[in-house]
């Protein structure tokens, strides 16, 4: 290993970013166009504009502050998040347009497309939680490009070959992103020195900032789950079910967090992550669930899994495999996402067996296919990305500089209390 002094980003980051932005502008110049269709535009702006805004709040504020719980990494969490979002959205808009069926070379920019792109870009924000504090901005740029491409490809495949609809293929974002992030974290894992582990401690006021992010995610999650549902009554169901699942998982998370502590105290880290598990778990099936109690059961189980994961995973799973999952994306998004996928398959089976349809086997096959595809795609593309990120050319931060803002930020005067 080279010197412990953080390596200069000056030659690397501005060059890459400016070239990338110029390239994006050129691609937009050739391929992007306004929507000039004759649908009632007023309605489109009102409905899609509102949902777009909700999704943006979740992506920029929620995901940004959710990961800001580290003692010395708050600036990077929030600011890198914004950067990845801005880049990811531009790239995702283009990809979504190109990979559309039938393939076309003109991307028509609709508000619904921007909204979908924002949701696709959220996959990167989720994965970034796993490698939080261990990668620099240049590495994150590459990760954004790789992951958004992989995610769009996965959605295209599941839409075209596995007859999954838009909503379901988007809702496997959690599984995909969590396993992508975990694989990248596995590739980047190095033994942490003592001082780096100290920096990973969470203290009171950063925890409050993370709570801000959690609350924003929690409030807007019903919009996220129902964003791609087009039929009004399905959308209504989606909002209600998500709402109840979130409420139940919040209660479960808080009570279980107290239960698992020797003195019955509540851990803030558990709260940050586990209260959201219900929203993740109910995602894929939120429009199919006929009555609230099912959603509430899902929320309960998701809360259980999430808290259980938070307790067991870092000890058993992560230590054995050598994965360091900074923000716990595995138990926040990964496991509840898997639960949601299984619940969706179960509900589909139930629905079809009632209607005495002979296509039962095919349907189960397809649904399982989508779930395993998203997981496999996440693992595979994560592996490739992780291997590329391991190359020396990225000037990755030294292990001693992990979880430290000072490697990336200019401090004019060493601030008090830092």
């Amino acid at each position: 290993m080279g010197s412990k002094y953080p390596r200069s980003m000056r030659g690397c980051l501005p060059l890459w970013t400016l070239i990338l932005e110029a390239a994006l502008i050129v691609i937009f110049f050739f391929f992007a166009n306004y929507d000039s269709s004759s649908q009632d535009p007023k309605k489109i702006v009102v409905t899609h504009g509102a949902i777009l805004q909700d999704v943006m709040v979740m992506a920029a504020l929620g995901m940004g502050f959710l990961t800001s719980s580290l003692w010395r990494y708050g600036w990077s969490s929030v600011a890198f998040n914004l950067f990845m979002l801005a880049l990811g959205v531009q790239w995702a808009v283009l990809l979504d347009g190109f990979l559309e069926h039938p393939p076309s070379w003109k991307v028509v920019i609709k508000l619904s497309r921007i909204q979908q792109a924002t949701m696709s870009a959220m996959s990167v924000l989720i994965s970034a939680g796993a490698i939080l504090g261990k990668a620099n901005l240049a590495q994150l740029v590459l990760m954004v490009l790789m992951e958004v491409t992989a995610f769009s490809a996965m959605r295209m495949i599941s839409r075209q070959f596995l007859v999954a609809d838009n909503h379901v293929s988007m809702m496997y974002i959690h599984v995909f992103a969590a396993y992508f992030g975990l694989t990248v974290a596995w590739c980047l894992s190095r033994p942490l020195p003592k001082e780096a582990e100290e920096k990973e401690q969470r203290t009171t006021s950063p925890s409050l900032f993370a709570m801000l992010g959690t609350l924003f995610l929690w409030m807007f999650w019903p919009s996220f789950n129902s964003a791609l549902l087009t039929i009004p009554h399905e959308r209504k169901n989606g909002v209600f079910n998500t709402y109840y699942a979130l409420a139940v998982s919040a209660v479960t998370a808080i009570s279980l967090s107290a239960l698992t502590h020797p003195q019955g105290k509540i851990s803030m880290t558990h709260i940050h992550n586990a209260v959201l598990a219900g929203g993740v778990a109910v995602g894929a099936s939120c429009h199919l669930i006929p009555s609230p109690w099912l959603a509430m059961v899902l929320g309960l189980v998701a809360g259980l899994i999430s808290i259980g994961g938070a307790k067991c995973l870092p000890v058993c799973f992560n230590r054995v495999l050598g994965i360091h999952d900074t923000c716990g994306v595995h138990y926040t998004f990964g496991l509840p996402g898997l639960l949601g996928g299984i619940a969706y398959i179960g509900l589909m089976v139930h629905k079809i067996s009632w209607s005495k349809n002979t296509m039962l086997g095919f349907q189960v096959l397809f649904d399982t296919g989508v779930l395993s595809l998203s997981m496999a795609m996440g693992l595979a593309s994560g592996l490739i990305t992780g291997l590329i990120l391991n190359l020396k050319i990225w000037k990755a931060p030294h292990v001693a500089k992990y979880f430290d803002d000072q490697a990336f930020w200019e401090f004019p005067h060493l601030a008090v209390g830092f």
């Binding site: 501005p14 932005e21 914004l82 801005a86 200019e410 601030a415």
Partner: protein, 446 residues
């Protein structure tokens, strides 16, 4: 120089007096009208009154709320970066925004209604929020060096001048400025700079101990940045015509902001040593794209053009922070606390220039933009004469008048505020909450 900073009688008297005056003026001039500007309601769908009210209300209210969030949360938290000035940043922000939106409703209403009663609808409320935005921008320039009482006076004068300038730009020049790059951002920034120039404190030439940030105050400021960033598309499209124009305003602003983030990070890394990032740049320059695209947001420019505008704005803003602000503070004796010149002033001018170029290139004639297929020469030339359109000269005049009135108004306001009776803090008490707020000692010593 020391001033009496005791606010016990001056401030309550002034604030209550102003509020009573507002109530009286509202009593005299304002009446309700839920559907004031949505003309199609009154013409096309004149079925049942309740239906119409319901529709307009539901249509415009979300936009109003977005703008409201930006004004109160976004601008408020954006200014909380100083280590001992968080209370004042958010608190005084709330105070002047609350006063400003009442006064703004009145001023704009009187200018637009030509002596009749003011019909207050959601659009008026959005416009009133816009007028407070100018004051909040100017507040950024004088942040920490001014008392709440002075801010009240500045609010009253600035909104009056703003309403006059906006009337001039919109009604007489007929210039388009949908996201108000010129009339709000450039105006507010140069007004604030002029005030800050007149109120320059030679004693603080070498800086002040409290004029710096701590780790968590910068994170608080980031909350403001993110709120502004998220809701900026609504800000630029709030008063756009529903339909195509509104859609374009949202899309253009969105992509301009996204492109701006990338260039801001790149240039921040480029100008700092060892390629690090500077939090001040990230907090402010990432928003410059929204400011700069304001004037031409609703025009039929292509998405890539808005991305170019955003990139230029991000670049200009970071370079302004790095090189222009020190020059302003030392050579021109203008001390700009928040760097509003770089976030609102320069990108606002960029937006004005972009608007001129866009009008020259014919992006603003919406009729032709919509019906491209009918672009035959005769028809086009016919439209050219028949449709009311903004001309490049008028756009330039709008930019000039915005900056001109802002500077003149700011100088006059500054001279008024320089009178030693408004309880301004002394030099060593600047940037300190404890002058005007009850603060716990433990917090201060930290």
């Amino acid at each position: 120089m020391s001033f009496a900073t005791n606010m016990r009688f001056k401030f309550p008297l002034m604030a209550i007096g102003l509020e009573v005056a507002m109530i009286v003026l509202f009593g005299l001039f304002a009446i309700f009208n839920w559907c004031a500007t949505a003309h199609w309601c009154t013409t096309k769908l004149f079925k049942t009154a309740s239906n119409i009210v319901n529709h307009c209300y539901r249509y415009s209210l979300p936009l109003f709320q977005d703008v409201h969030v930006m004004i109160f949360v976004g601008f408020g938290f954006l200014m909380t970066f100083l280590k001992k000035y968080g209370f004042s940043s958010v608190g005084i922000n709330l105070l002047i925004a609350a006063l400003g939106l009442q006064w703004g409703t009145l001023m704009q209403g009187i200018l637009h209604s030509h002596g009749h009663k003011i019909h207050i609808g959601i659009k008026n409320m959005i416009n009133a929020d816009f007028s407070t935005a100018t004051v909040l921008i100017s507040f950024g320039a004088v942040l920490g060096k001014i008392s709440p009482l002075q801010m009240l006076i500045m609010t009253i004068i600035e909104i009056a001048v703003f309403a006059g300038n906006e009337h001039l730009v919109a009604e007489i020049f007929k210039a388009t400025d949908i996201g108000a790059s010129m009339t709000i951002h450039a105006f507010g920034a140069y007004f604030g700079l002029a005030v800050a120039g007149v109120l320059y404190r030679p004693g603080l030439r070498r800086g002040h101990d409290n004029e710096e940030s701590v780790y968590h105050s910068d994170l608080f400021a980031m909350i403001g940045t993110l709120f502004l960033w998220i809701f900026w598309p609504s800000f630029n499209s709030a008063i756009a015509e529903a339909g195509d124009k509104e859609y374009r305003a949202v899309v253009n602003t969105y992509f301009s902001l996204a492109a701006c983030v990338l260039t801001a990070y790149a240039f921040s890394s480029l100008v700092e040593h060892r390629g690090k990032l500077d939090m001040v740049h990230i907090q402010n320059a990432t928003l410059a794209g929204g400011v700069a695209v304001g004037t031409c947001a609703d025009m039929a420019i292509h998405p890539y053009v808005s991305m170019i505008i955003g990139s230029i704005a991000g670049m200009v803003s970071v370079l302004g922070f790095k090189f222009l602000t020190p020059v302003f503070a030392t050579k021109l004796r203008i001390h700009d606390t928040c760097g509003v010149h770089n976030l609102h002033g320069l990108p606002g001018v960029v937006g004005g220039l972009a608007g001129i170029v866009a009008v020259v290139l014919g992006a603003s004639d919406t009729f032709l933009g919509k019906h491209r297929t009918m672009r035959i020469f005769n028809f086009q030339s016919l439209c050219y004469f028949l449709l009311p359109r903004s001309t490049p000269a008028m756009q330039a005049a709008a930019l000039g008048s915005s900056i001109g009135t802002a500077l003149v108004g700011g100088l006059i306001t500054g001279l008024i505020l320089k009178l030693p009776i408004w309880g301004q803090p002394s030099d060593q008490n600047c940037y300190d909450d404890s002058v005007f707020w009850e603060v716990l000692c433990t917090v201060l010593n930290k």
